[in-house]
Symmetry: D3
Subunit: 194 residues, 6 copies
C-alpha cells in the first residue's frame, strides 16, 4: 500500500544520523519491520532522541507495573484520545506482552468492562482521568491507588506514561501518523514459524 504515513517528509534510512538509523535497524531486526513512529518522528532528530529516551526510561525500567500493564495505560488513554497509531500499534504490543488476543480490543473500547483485575481497572481509571481532565486529579485519587497496592513510584509510572502518551497522541494526530499494516494482526494469531 502506498498511503502516506505522515503529513511531513519522512527521511530515508540512509540520510539519518547513525544513532537513529541504528535504533531503527535494531527494532527492525526484532519486530521484522520498522514501526512508523520511528520513521515519522525522525524528521526531527533531536526530538526523536528525546522522545525515545523518555519512552525507554519509562517502558523499560524496573517497575511495580508489568510491561503489559504499562501498555494497557497506553492503549486505554490513547483510545480516549482517539489516536489511531497508538491504539493499533500499542494494542499489538499489549496482546503480545499479555499473551491475550482479546485484551487490547477490550481495553480500547472500555477498560471498565474489560477482563481486568480491580487493581488494573483502578490504574486505568486514574490514567484516563489524568489523560482527559488532568485538573480533576486529587489526592483522593492517589489514595485509591495506594489502597490497591500501588507504591508512590508506581503512581509516578502510571502518571508519567499517561503524560508521555498525551504528548505522543498529539504528535500522531498532528502529523497524521499511520499505523503499519503489520500491527493489526500481531498477537492475534500465533506468529509464523521462522
Amino acid at each position: 500500500m502506498t498511503k502516506p504515513i505522515s503529513k511531513y517528509p519522512v527521511p530515508k534510512l540512509e540520510e539519518l544520523p547513525e544513532d537513529i538509523r541504528g535504533r531503527m535497524l535494531e527494532v527492525q531486526q526484532k519486530a521484522g519491520f520498522i514501526p512508523n513512529v520511528f520513521l515519522t518522528l525522525a524528521h526531527r532528530p533531536e526530538e526523536f532522541r528525546a522522545f525515545f529516551a523518555y519512552h525507554d526510561a519509562l517502558m523499560l525500567r524496573n517497575s511495580g507495573l508489568s510491561k503489559a500493564e504499562r501498555e494497557m495505560i497506553v492503549v486505554a488513554t490513547s483510545a480516549r484520545n482517539q489516536c489511531p497509531y497508538c491504539v493499533i500499534a500499542h494494542g499489538a504490543v499489549l496482546r503480545i506482552y499479555a499473551k491475550d488476543p482479546q485484551i487490547a480490543d477490550q481495553v480500547a473500547i472500555h477498560h471498565g468492562k474489560a477482563d481486568l483485575t480491580p487493581r488494573q481497572k483502578a490504574m486505568l481509571d486514574f490514567a484516563c482521568k489524568l489523560a482527559r481532565t488532568p485538573e480533576a486529579v486529587t489526592p483522593a485519587d492517589h489514595e485509591t491507588l495506594r489502597a490497591h497496592g500501588f507504591s508512590e513510584e508506581d503512581i509516578w509510572d502510571i502518571g508519567a506514561i499517561t503524560g508521555l502518551f498525551a504528548l505522543s497522541n498529539r504528535m500522531a494526530h498532528l502529523i497524521e501518523m499511520r499505523a503499519n499494516d503489520e500491527f493489526y494482526l500481531m498477537g492475534r494469531v500465533p506468529p509464523p514459524p521462522k
Copy 2:
C-alpha cells in the same frame, strides 16, 4: 516559606549526577534561583534528561515562532489544563520575552480576548484544541494556520510544544509541583539593579 514543592522526594543538589547539577547551577546563575521543575523532576534523572532535551529542542531551536509566541502556547494550554506551576512559571517567562507585563494574565484567562494579533489567536486556538481535544483537530485546522502564514514546520512547533506541555502539565498535577515565589513578580516590574 516551607511548603513542599512536590509530593515526591526532592533530591539534594549534591546528590545529583554531575550533568543535572550542572544544568541547575547554570539556570540558577541566569535566573537567580532554581525553578522547582528542575528540582522536582530530578527525582528521576533519566526522565529529567529526556524532558529537558525535548524542551530545549523545541524552545531553543530556530523557528518561525518567536520565543514569546512559544511561551504563549505554554501559558494558554497550561491554563486550559489548570496547571498552577506551568501557568505561573511560564507566565513569568512570557512577560519577559514579550516585554509586556499584562500579556500572561490575559492569555491565561482567555487568549481569544487578549491583546494579540489574529495570527497569534489562530495559533492559540489550534494549540488549545490540540491540548484539550486532540481528536478534534482536522486538516482544515492546518489550513487555517497556513492561511495565517505559518509554515508546516511552524505547525509542527505549535503542536509539539502543546504536546510537550500536555506531558508537563500532567507531571506537575501528578506530583503537585509548586511554583517558586520568585515567578509571581517576574516581568511585572523592572528587575532590581544588580
Copy 3:
C-alpha cells in the same frame, strides 16, 4: 471460557419458543456459532422479536447504503458509546462485508481518520452526532448529506440504524452483554477451509 455473557438469566435453546430457536439455529448454521446477542436478549421473547424485526427491516432492506456502510454506522456509533459487544461483533461483520481487515479498527478508533471516502465520513459524522447529541442535528446536517449524494431515504436509513443501535448499545451496557470469542478474529484472516 466460562465468563457470564449477561447479568440476566440466559435461556437454554430447548426452553425457547419455536420461532426464536429457529432463528438461532439458522444463524448458527451460517456463522458457525450463536452470537450472544441472540442468547441474551431471548430472556424476553417479545422484545427479542421486536428487536430483530427492526434489525432486519433496516439491515436487510434494499438501500442506497451498502451493507458494509450500514455496519460502519453501527461500529462508529457503538464505539462512541463504548459498547464492547457491538464494536466487537459488528466490527467482525464490517470486516467481512467490506473485505477489509483494517477498516473496523480504524472506524472504531476515529472514523474521521479512517480509510474512507468523504461521503462515508460525512455519513459517520452525521451518525455520531445523532448518536451522542441528537438535539444538535439541524436541517443543515441533512443538506450536507444531500450534497454527498444521499437520498432522503438513505438519510432515514442512517438515522434509523443509529437509533436502533442507540437502543442496542444501552441494552448491551445494561445487561453486560459479552462478545463471543469468535468475533475477535473474524474477517482478519482467511476463514478456515470447510
Copy 4:
C-alpha cells in the same frame, strides 16, 4: 394548523396496510385523535410494526413499575435529549396516568427537583445516565436501584424503556416529528364531558 408533521411523506390512512390502519383507528377511538408518531412512522411499515411491538412489550407488560413511572422515564430522558414530540406527547400521557397536572413539566425540567419519591428519583437518575452517557453506567448503579427496592426485572424495564426512547428520540429528531396540538392540554384540565 397546517404545519408539516414530518420531513418525510406521511401516508394516507387508506393507503396503509390493514394492520397498521387498524391500529391507528383503535388509538383514534380511544384518544380522539391519531398521535403523529403513528402517522409519521407509517412511512416505513416494517419499522412501524417493530417499533410498536417493542413499545407494547415494554409499556403494557406487567411490571414492578407503574404505568406512570414508565412514562416518567420517557419524559425525563426525552427532555435530556430535547425531543419535542416525546416530551409533549408522553408528558400528556404521564399527567393522565399520574393524575397529576404538574408532574410532567416538573420531570421535563429537572427530575431531581420534581415532586417524586426518592425511589422514583433514583430510577430517573439511572435512566438519564443511561440515556446520555450509557458507557458510564456501572454495577454500582444497579446496586443503588436494588437498594431502592427495584428487582432485576424492574431494572431491565427501566433500561429497555430508556433504550427504546433513545431510538424514538433520534427518529423524532431525524424526521422533525411534530406533536399534535391536542397533547398540550391533555391531563391539565378535566376532559370535556362526552
Copy 5:
C-alpha cells in the same frame, strides 16, 4: 398544598418593609396571586430591591425586543439551566404575552425546533450560548445578530436579560424556590370570566 416554597425563611407580608409589601400587593392585584419569587427573595430586602430594579429596567423598558421575545430568552436560558421556577413562571408569562398556548413548552424543550422566526432562533442561540458558555461568545456572534436586524442596544438587552436570569436561576436553585400552582395553567386556557 403545603410544600415549602424555599429552603430559607419566608417573611410574612406584614413583617415586610412598606415598599416591598406594596410591590407584592400590586402584583397580587394584577395576577391574582403573589409569585413565589417575591415572597422568597424578600428574605433579604436589599437584594430584593436590587433584583427587581434590575428586572424592571430590562423587562419594562422600550426595546427592539417585544415583551414576548424577552420572556422567550428567560424561558430558553432557564430551561438550559434546568430551573423549575423560572421555566414554569416565565413560561406562563410567555404564553400570555405571545398569546400562544404552545410556545413556552416548545421553547423550553428546544428553541431551535420551536415555531419561531429565524430572527428569534438566532436571538435564542446567542442567549443560550451566553447562558451556558459565556466565554465562547465572539464578535462573530454579534455580527450574526446584526445580520438578523438586531441593533447594538437590542443585543445589550438580549445579553443583559440572559445575565439577569443567570443570577435568578442560580438563586432559585440555591433556595429551592418552588413555582406557584397557578402558573401551570396560565395562558393555556382562556382566563375565567371576572
Copy 6:
C-alpha cells in the same frame, strides 16, 4: 493606551446623572482611578444602579464570609467563566483584602490547588459548581458546606455572590469590558508612598 474599554459607548463623567457621577468620584478618590466597570455599565444608568445596589448588598454586608473570601468566590467563578475583567480586577482586590500577593493567581488557575483552608476550598467547590452547572447542585452540597461550619446565611451569600458574578461575567463578555492597567500590579507590590 487607547484600547477601547467597551464595545458600547462610554458616557463622559459630566454627562452622567449626579448619583452615578458621585459614586465614581468616590471610588476614584479611594482607588486612585475609576474602574472600567463603572464607566462602561453607566451606559445604562438604571441597570448601573441596580447592579451596584446588588453588589453593595452582598459585598459590604456583615457576613460569616470575610471580604477576602467573598472576593475569592468572584475570582474563582469568573476564572471558570474566563472573564478577563473580573479575574483581573477582583484578583487585585483579593490580593489586597487577603494581604497575599500570590492568592489571586492561584485561585484563578485552580482553587483546589491553591493555598487555602479546606473550608475555603469547599466554599469554592460549591461556588464553581453553581457557576458552571447550577442544575447539578443538590441538598448534599448544602450539607457539605454546613459540615465545614457555614451557616445557612453564609450559603446564601456564597450562592448570591456566585449568581451576581454570573450576571457580571456575562455583561463583561457581552460588551468586551477591558480591565484598567492599574489592576495588574495592585496588591503585588507595596503601594507607593503617598
